[in-house]
Symmetry: D2
Subunit: 360 residues, 4 copies
């Protein structure tokens, strides 16, 4: 059933498979008056682009996006924005071997059972390739949010058992890991190289911060901003855990420590991660996600074929040894899309949300 | 803005505040032909009812539910089911002191900023009291799912730093903690008593398992079942973390260990928690949530009033020293509501889902 | 499947059957800060109330509404508003004869086939009795719209072949027909009396005008305001035609006459009925609906029973000889609900819509 | 705000302007297993294509559609179907004169006020050009419905004051008017030629019949099938009236004549147009729509510019002298989309709807 539209007020609907002719999106509900051009989107696409480093999949895609509607003389008109990217480097023959096999850890098994038919080439629609359109749409959301002083930024905070604490935003786009600590890069490279030698893969934790939000975003009791953030992040391939603020650590915290006391100068801590009762407090939104290790590794494993018979599976194709790395721009995009959707819907009652509606 | 409806095919819409005259829900989309009566719902309501033990809030509510429509001669007719519960033991005078103050860790601050007006009595709509209607609606969902062999069950798996491993479902309803291990009860009681003496509170982790699901439930790429489970659970008051299957632990797992290999006899592990590509595999769905400690404790803390001036806050009222405990039936209800919603929507394409539509 | 929620931003969800214990609604998304009390709603309920004149059904209901949530100290808080009306004069025994029969022109046949089970008492959920909750929710919408200078008013413009042109709003609530022409009342009374003698019924046309709308309401290409007005009116029992502006007459109009030319002083005509491209022009919205004659008449007719066998049907019960008459406040309510829903959603982009958000 | 998605279960989301580079659609929720190829869609596109006769706009577009996803080896996979058509014959310079003027009867005025910015070339998004994507998506819906024995067919039933009764489906695609009566063609041609000489335009009535529907489609009380049909048709440019079954004529009908009596052999009439209580009866759905005359005619008229000053407007461009004619395939498409959406949603409860889910 239809499940490819995200959002209510600022919506994105996407299509496209890993090895089909093209991927596309329709962004609907973008306010008129925003300057936007293809290069605004391209910047974000490039940061998630496959083939850009030794540590991600070697598939090479230019991911060149075309804006087909909704922008007139460089300015959004309020009508839907059509986006299109043609696939260029899809080597479908890599996949003929798995035509009748289910790769463990992948969606092959569930797609086959659900739909009765499966585009097996590169995982078809279930491939992380579909996230290119999330990032493209997210770039528009981020540009709009930026005009309001809202920024959404992520970094890798853990890779395997290597803790990667936040040091500086400046460094993030200058290394292939979205790592915010320059001193950790050689350790990461060595670990990734050893993984590749072992024909194995590893999980990762990504942290995202959104700051500049006004107080008052989120619609209890079901359309809470925290609930929708959990939704948008768990919809990303390989994500198995979403934490807000203190996250899993709150289990062993005392109430006297956890509650963020308030002073006339503001909150004195942010264990809540910027959300109380599902509504933004005005503090930064802080979120962490855990991504499982890539299931496609070149180490042989056991599985079954479509007839239920035992088979060996060795995934050839070209894959990321740590899918978590490239998830950073995707998670940023999903958070940006969630925030803009809520922001526009809250403007409906004009509570506390003041927005500049001049051409921006 | 409107945010009080949950689901698309089997929807619940709720109303009601902690100290208003009544709480209610409309359950829309329940298939016709299901035997349902008030006592089916009452059973679940009683398990989350306040005042039922020494270890939860002392507010006493009978939570007696009335079915006002949608059921004719004991059988659902396919029309919306109206549910109503009157509040009985609301002591609003307990709250007059916080009329102009924001309790840290509560939604007082955000509701005030969002809406410009706030029913301060017991937190109004932001009180966990609203969850009574989630449990009532969830009971209908659970009864329907049971006719298909689907069960949703939860237990407390951690309280503070006390690990509470699963031992047996039988014991869960026989202790006030939803604990599945009979040997841990005295430790829990002692710890809770010490908390009360210290005027403090603690967090908890709840685990929920749904078994009996057919393969094929969930609609990628945005209406994935895992994304909607994350959403439904993060919408519960005090939840700060949602984990599926391996959850946060996947960060440090190797791909060769994490991927669940398949044999003709079935999957050999379930790190995925019953979900691949956002679609149910047919294995049990396994989910964990972390709930923060109750913010309302009788230890004095710093805050501000509605004018931004410094104030001391001591919460009187009647509160749970560990809100996580009573979250077990609420989390079960939300998962049941999410599953039935997806199940009915998937029947739309009739993929793999076979359902008995006789009167049940 | 779930179909009992109307709107996206200002939503109403309703429940209740003709002869069940109660009917109810949840109004979600009403802006905070609106003064509202039960008597505001009661006024509109009284105008559609059965038993209020010799010319409508003799069922007597007080239709006394209770507000159960969402209003604190007389002011809306932004949380959902629960509304409840208990049924008082339901004589279910009147209907036992039709338990196994399908009344022609009614939904008995379709409900039975769709759901496999039917609350036959008074038509159950398919009875026009459900419209009481549309009117209650509509009263809240109308009060909010009134604060913005938007009024929605209707009158009967045709009954059978009697044309009833608009003369004055003042007279409408002073006659049992919602007729705007005082000179027509005796003709209407005579005609209705003759119908009753003939044990027959008749159709009617209702016209509704909404004025005071800002320019710019409506979201092409699918969520156009005209499309949503057509939807809301065709959802009323017995309506078979919806016309906007020139309506059916545009078929034989020339373009040179139909297009509404514009001058610096404004449009020189309003054949468009206040809508161009699905967006409000700022002129009055003008709509006409046609309602079929009551199917429940005491003249015998042919039908079948649930086993497909031939039966005679004579409807006893208590019915309106012209259902169209009481449709006036219902149509007003539906238009008001549609306009407020669009108005709030358009405020999301703040285009041209300026709204006072002080407490009103 | 977002308004470019239609449907809930089988959804279409569209983008594109009259003179932009391309138009596109995403069809989401199409069941897997349907054979579909571009020529299936092209057939319907050709029937609404501009430039195909002397009696419609002279703009020449091949309207060649590409399927970009969702179909694998000629069969739908259950994933979203991306559709794309490039614009070829857009002469934007025709429109430079109206850059600052509002054409009466068009959406220029309302778009300008709503969005503050307007793609004036050919009406931009408000052009009937957007309907090309409705027809493309509708072709997929029609093919699916055909496998269930459901057909949706339309014809022109009135042009100006010329009544065009139904004679035979065979003739409809063999004349440029979608006229079902071969004897009327010369009269139509003469009338259209005289209109062109007079530089004027005329309205039309289109009738659509859907047969083969099972009993039980439609979800009261708000998601009724009749309400959604009214919505889908009123969303078509220039439509001002939607009638179901007896339509406007029911106003002067007696109840004893209007109600469709039932016999063991079936209904003896179909004044209800195949819908009772908003649910399909199993009889043919019968609908009529009225379309206003084209506003763009070469006769000078009065208007204002964006500064509110008086201007003369003479529309150059290339336009249909009767927009109603080409509305036939568009109306068919919208009805087909509405029916498939309801059909799939009703299969959720499996009531009375039996559907072949083999590869078709």
């Amino acid at each position: 059933m239809a499940g490819n539209t995200f959002g209510k007020n600022f919506t994105i609907t996407t299509f496209g498979e890993s090895h089909g002719p093209a991927l596309g999106a329709i962004v609907d509900g973008c306010p008129p008056g925003l300057y936007i051009c293809e290069s605004d989107i391209q910047r974000d696409l490039n940061s998630r682009r496959p083939g850009s480093s030794h540590y991600t999949t070697q598939r090479r895609e230019n991911d060149e996006v075309k804006i087909l509607s909704g922008v007139f003389e460089g300015i959004t008109t309020g009508t839907p924005i059509g986006l299109l990217i043609y696939n260029e480097d899809s080597r479908s023959k890599d996949y003929s071997e798995i035509k009748y096999k289910f790769r463990p850890g992948h969606a092959d098994y569930t797609y086959n059972h659900k739909y009765g038919i499966r585009d097996y080439r590169g995982g078809g629609r279930s491939s992380a390739r579909e996230t290119v359109m999330r990032v493209a749409a997210g770039a528009i959301a981020k540009k709009y949010l930026a005009t309001l002083g809202i920024r959404v930024m992520g970094y890798i905070s853990k890779l395997g058992s290597i803790e990667l604490p936040f040091v500086t935003w400046e460094y993030i786009n200058e290394n292939p890991f979205f790592c915010a600590d320059p001193t950790k890069i050689s350790q990461l490279k060595n670990y990734m190289d050893s993984l590749r030698r072992d024909k194995d893969s590893i999980g990762a934790q990504i942290s995202i911060i959104a700051d500049g939000l006004p107080t008052g975003i989120g619609d209890p009791i079901f359309d809470r901003l925290d609930a929708d953030i959990a939704n948008c992040l768990m919809s990303i391939n390989a994500v198995k855990c979403v934490e807000i603020g203190g996250g899993g650590k709150v289990v062993s915290q005392l109430g006297s420590k956890n509650r963020d006391e308030i002073t006339p100068q503001g909150f004195i801590s942010n264990n809540a991660g910027g959300l109380l009762g599902g509504i933004s407090t005005g503090q930064p939104i802080i979120v962490h996600i855990a991504l499982k290790p890539t299931s496609s590794i070149t180490t042989l494993c056991k599985s079954i074929d479509v007839n239920g018979n035992y088979v060996d599976v060795v995934t050839k194709g070209r894959h990321d040894p740590c899918v978590g790395i490239r998830a950073t721009p995707i998670a940023e995009a999903m958070i940006a899309l969630t925030i803009i959707d809520h922001l526009l819907r809250n403007r409906a009652q004009n509570y506390d949300v003041k927005i500049n509606t001049n051409i921006i």
